[in-house]
Symmetry: C2
Subunit: 311 residues, 2 copies
DNA sequence: TGGATGTGATAAGCTGCTCTTATGTTGCAA
DNA sequence: TTGCAACATAAGAGCAGCTTATCACATCCA
């Protein structure tokens, strides 16, 4: 019975309660008195009891206790609809919303701070949530499952479920301790790599790429230490434990104690992109996030081409 | 545009979101797939954007960001309707609700405690609000204005706006200090009253009734003290300052230091009743309050007839 | 690769709701 | 009593929304 309630009935209830008259309420709503009368009758049928006392004659109609109760709920519902409209307007304008983004270590450190800063400056009401892991498959699973709107990723696989926006090519470089690199910083040869003790990541999607790349140029790496943390890895190199092959993005290039050297012959750079689920509608704020990510990674596009093409 | 939203559309949105399929949602709602498809289309027209991504084929349809937002509001609204139904059921059963009652001093002390106690025992979820004043016109104004559901009153006027339930006749009696009343407690004669110093109320609707009644039996009262508080008044009598003419209900008959005596010839008792606004629908809890008031004042009906008929 | 299956969209037709217009009914006021 | 003002009700017109039937499309499996 209550299922037959209609929003229009609730609006009529509110208007009549405020005006104290079916006729005036009808004028306000743009209906005839008869229509409002029938709407209230329908509402009373749905509710199962009269909502107005009609004293007859020129006196105001007044709410019954039932009417007072229903009006309370009606105003809450009508208010909800009003705020829903405001929320929709903000969502449409992209000025508000949630964006949940998957990320991994090197992006978190080099790219994300600038993206988040730009978004906060441009659209302060957009909330950004982050989820970081170096397991790319987990990022993709979460993206497809819907708990992420976007995720940064390395495009090492084709996945037709994803729509990927390219950001830049991140070349693999070798880093060695400055103290252990007397000669001028030329490229690192495969021959040299073959004999150096290496420091690597824990087994991860990135490390697999590195090993595959090294194998392609005939290097079977000899790891003497592994760490899951890029900064720790670089500290090991700095202390002279060995060299490392890392994606450029993961390297702190401001560190004077290490030398960054391209690898010769180059191994294929990892393409970094940002992915959404193919066919899924994105909120404007989310689409803007992608654009901002493209803008912010502009320097890495030129830099990577500089390093990558220097072979 | 948002005005075209219908509750049925919101229910469809919720069902489809939960089922992940238009067809299954339709089954659940008792419609055909086509109907649900059209309902969602209508909702999307009202909202101005798609609420579902339809991947095509046997995959689940998924909410867009707009859909997530609208669904949030939809569930709030549907929840409101559900709780409205529950509230209505309770109101209908009379097991809950607000009753606001006007009262005056003597009723507050002698009648109300028993009524409130009985109501609380019988319907613990009914809330009772009280408003007390000895200005009867104010009680009636508030009742008619709607800030009171009921009011206790003395029926000294005809008022066609009110619907009055009789409770009992409250006789006027004389009280004198036990110490000053050596002879056995016979009725108080007009002659005796004429010579006694009297203690009276402040000018109030009740005091006016008393003076009118006394005038009718040829007594022009000589007041030596006035108080607005019945207990204070009785204390004055107790201390020997004079006698008092009071409605029986206002007298603490358990006080051994005062003697309660009928007046001879009797002056017309005041009829105590409980009033609601004529034509106004009362909540079941409110109607029950009136019934309980009638039950509780039963002893006063027999007592008043006992005293009043003894003339 | 091609058909079977499952899914949503769309067209057509019909039902029924919800308006409007017109009139009835009721309570108040003069 | 009459007149007025307000809500209720009846009847009809228009249209929204449902059902049936069909299309279009993607996946899955042989």
């Amino acid at each position: 019975m209550l299922q037959d309630l209609e929003i229009r009935h609730l609006a009529a209830l509110q208007a009549v309660a405020e005006e104290g008259s079916f006729g005036r309420a009808a004028t306000r709503l743009g209906f005839t008195q008869s229509a409002v009368s029938q709407q209230i009758a329908a509402l009373e049928r749905a509710v199962g009891a009269p909502v107005f006392d009609r004293p007859g004659g020129p006196r105001r109609v007044e709410l019954t206790p039932t009417g007072v109760l229903v009006l309370g709920h009606a105003e809450a519902i009508l208010g909800r609809i009003r705020t829903a409209g405001e929320d929709l307007a903000r969502l449409r304008a992209g000025s508000a919303g949630y964006v949940t983004v998957g990320t991994f270590q090197s992006v978190s450190v080099r790219i994300l701070p600038a993206v988040v800063k730009a978004m906060r400056a441009e659209r302060p009401d957009v909330e950004i949530g982050l989820y970081e892991t170096d397991e790319q498959l987990e990022l993709i699973d979460r993206l497809v499952a819907g708990s992420l709107d976007l995720t940064f990723m390395v495009q090492d696989v084709e996945d037709r479920r994803l729509h990927i926006t390219d950001l830049f090519l991140d070349p693999f470089v070798a880093i060695t301790a400055t103290a252990d690199t007397p000669q001028s910083t030329g490229p690192m040869s495969a021959e040299e790599l073959r004999h150096l003790p290496l420091i690597g990541e824990q087994t991860s999607s990135c490390q697999l790429l590195i090993d595959k790349g090294l194998a392609a140029i005939g290097v079977e790496p000899r790891y003497v230490f592994r760490s899951g943390d890029n900064a720790a890895l670089q500290a090991m190199v700095r202390s002279g434990l060995g060299a490392a092959v890392m994606p450029l993005l993961a390297v702190d290039t401001d560190d004077p104690e290490v030398v960054v050297r391209p690898i010769e012959p180059a191994i294929p750079p990892r393409p970094v992109g940002i992915a959404s689920v193919a066919g899924r509608t994105l909120a404007p704020a989310t689409e803007r996030f992608v654009e901002v990510a493209v803008e912010v990674s502009e320097p890495y596009r030129t830099m990577s081409s500089r390093v990558a093409t220097r072979r």
